[in-house]
């Protein structure tokens, strides 16, 4: 009985230690990437622009349609729920306030982060993982190319640029979705809807969303590559790492979102 309790305790302890170690590893990857981005050229190992542009295309531009559609749908959904809730108080027209805040502060960055985690976080984990099992990472190192500079810094930089752009796009389309529903349900013109949005929204609200998307960019990249670097055991390991990267980065995103909101709105 005692030994079983001890076992449980030991497992919990080992699990905790492993998690802390992983977090530390991810932080050190982040620090190294920043150093390479800032001082790579000086150390004669610049972060290549064409790699960054490639990543921006893949993680950013190619995600535009899906982000746009989903943000629009979220806008519709928020408007429906808002109107339904506020009807009880006869205050349907106030729904605009709810939509404006919810989209810019929460839903636009959140949906962007989750989508990019699913599309690009998984791809990063798979790419780095398969490079690891085929010794390509070792090959990079013996060729005198630092793997963090070559494999982590470019996607990190690309995500830091593209995620805020995607979040702003999601802002616009989410608000538009909400506006269209208000027009249909409340006979409110789109013009007066957007005027009301402009009245209630402050720069800070949009900025809060953008800051969140920057945080999510860091999370998606680092969770993706760190899972890739940690791959053991062949193709099956790559599959496991990919799944783990997606689940882990979405969990981190949601928790970080909550914490961020908590501290910014006290």
């Amino acid at each position: 009985m005692l030994s079983r309790a001890q076992n449980l305790l030991a497992r919990t302890g080992r699990g905790t230690a492993a998690s802390v170690a992983e977090l530390g590893y991810q932080s050190s990857l982040f620090a190294q990437s920043i150093v390479w981005i800032c001082a790579g050229a000086w150390r004669r190992q610049p972060v290549r622009l064409h790699q960054v542009v490639n990543q921006m295309t893949v993680t950013g531009l190619q995600a535009v349609p899906i982000v746009a559609v989903l943000a629009f749908v979220i806008g519709l959904m928020l408007a429906m729920q808002g109107i339904h809730t506020l009807r009880a108080f006869g205050a349907e027209s106030q729904v605009v306030v709810g939509i404006a805040f919810a989209i810019t502060r929460e839903f636009a960055p959140l949906i962007t982060g989750i989508l990019v985690a699913g599309r690009s976080g998984s791809a990063l984990a798979a790419q780095v993982g398969s490079m690891r099992i085929s010794q390509e990472i070792d090959a990079l190192r013996v060729l005198g190319v630092h793997p963090v500079r070559y494999l982590v810094a470019p996607p990190l930089l690309a995500m830091l640029v593209m995620l805020p752009c995607l979040a702003i796009l999601a802002d616009v389309l989410g608000l538009l979705g909400g506006g269209l529903l208000c027009k249909l349900e409340l006979q409110m013109s789109l013009r007066s809807y957007f005027e009301r949005v402009r009245e209630v929204l402050e720069m800070g609200d949009v900025l809060q969303g953008v800051l969140k998307s920057l945080l999510f960019a860091v999370i998606v990249t680092l969770v993706g590559v760190s899972n890739g670097f940690a791959v053991r055991g062949g193709a099956e390991g790559v599959g496991r790492a990919t799944t783990r990267a997606v689940v882990q980065s979405i969990s981190y995103i949601i928790v970080a979102d909550m914490l961020f909101t908590f501290f910014l709105n006290r």
């Binding site: 150390r43 190992q45 790419q127 398969s130 490079m131 085929s134 010794q135 390509e136 070792d138 090959a139 190192r141 013996v142 060729l143 005198g144 190319v145 630092h146």
Partner: protein, 263 residues
């Protein structure tokens, strides 16, 4: 006996994998211009030794001098500079799968030199011709045969005209004819480029075919490091049993055996 300059000098190298000691104080050296073959069965520690020579792992103790510099003490930037003078061809080739053969061969030049694209292309094509891969430069690694992958990896390894070339298991996974061709290619490359070659293998035939000297590794110890003839005529029983593919004659320790089973 006059010694040529030593390009690798390993002193008292001790390494661990987790808590297990893998290499128990290894000493050996490689002279300029020779083909040194490191030989040993699986689990002998030869792959570990290679990874340490490449600076991919940190040893527990000892020194590894490569081209006159102790890589266990080297700063990151000095190591980076040193790596440009070393070529490596991995067992599976380790070509970048997302790049064509040409892009793989050009990669070191693109990363380390400021040459213009046209020059880089020509230089890498020269190396591809050298390994008989001329005209195959548009293919991706997945479209290559095993022998072609090894040759492409070789072309990438010598892209920067290294002083020192490491080769991990050149003949593994190849049929005997292709393996023999590859051995010949390695020798031709040594003569054409004047490089020192360190080759890790468990293939006896290949080892005796191309080596100037052979180092035999067994269970983390160096049994012998000498010329081909000296190794062949060694009176060490363990060396002879390795050369003649006899099973190891380890005496069974009854108590330890029982303890392992009942642990």
């Amino acid at each position: 006996m006059s010694h040529a300059a030593e390009v690798i000098r390993v002193r008292d190298l001790v390494t661990h994998y987790g808590d297990t000691e893998i290499l128990h104080g290894v000493n050996f050296s490689v002279r300029a211009g020779e083909v040194m073959v490191i030989m040993g069965g699986s689990g002998s520690g030869k792959s570990t030794l290679l990874r340490h020579l490449l600076g991919l792992e940190e040893p527990t103790g000892g020194t590894i001098e490569i081209l006159g510099q102790d890589i266990t003490q080297l700063s990151a930037s000095a190591m980076y500079a040193l790596r440009k003078r070393i070529g490596v061809s991995f067992q599976g080739g380790a070509l970048f799968n997302s790049m064509t053969v040409a892009e793989n061969a050009e990669f070191p030049l693109r990363e380390h030199t400021d040459l213009d694209s046209q020059t880089i292309r020509i230089m890498s094509r020269i190396k591809l011709e050298l390994v008989n891969l001329g005209g195959k430069d548009h293919l991706y690694p997945a479209e290559l045969s095993g022998g072609m992958i090894k040759r492409a990896a070789l072309a990438r390894a010598v892209a920067m005209d290294p002083r020192l070339l490491f080769f991990d298991e050149p003949s593994a996974g190849l049929d005997p004819v292709v393996a023999a061709e590859l051995d010949e290619l390695i020798l031709r490359l040594r003569d054409a480029l004047q490089i020192t070659i360190v080759l890790v293998t468990h293939e006896l035939e290949s080892a005796f075919g191309i080596a100037d000297r052979i180092t035999v590794l067994d269970a983390g110890h160096i049994l012998i490091s000498d010329t081909v003839d000296a190794v062949r005529n060694s009176d060490s029983e363990r060396v002879q049993s390795l050369l003649h593919r006899r099973a190891g004659s380890g005496v069974l320790d009854g108590a330890a055996y029982l303890q392992r089973l009942t642990r």
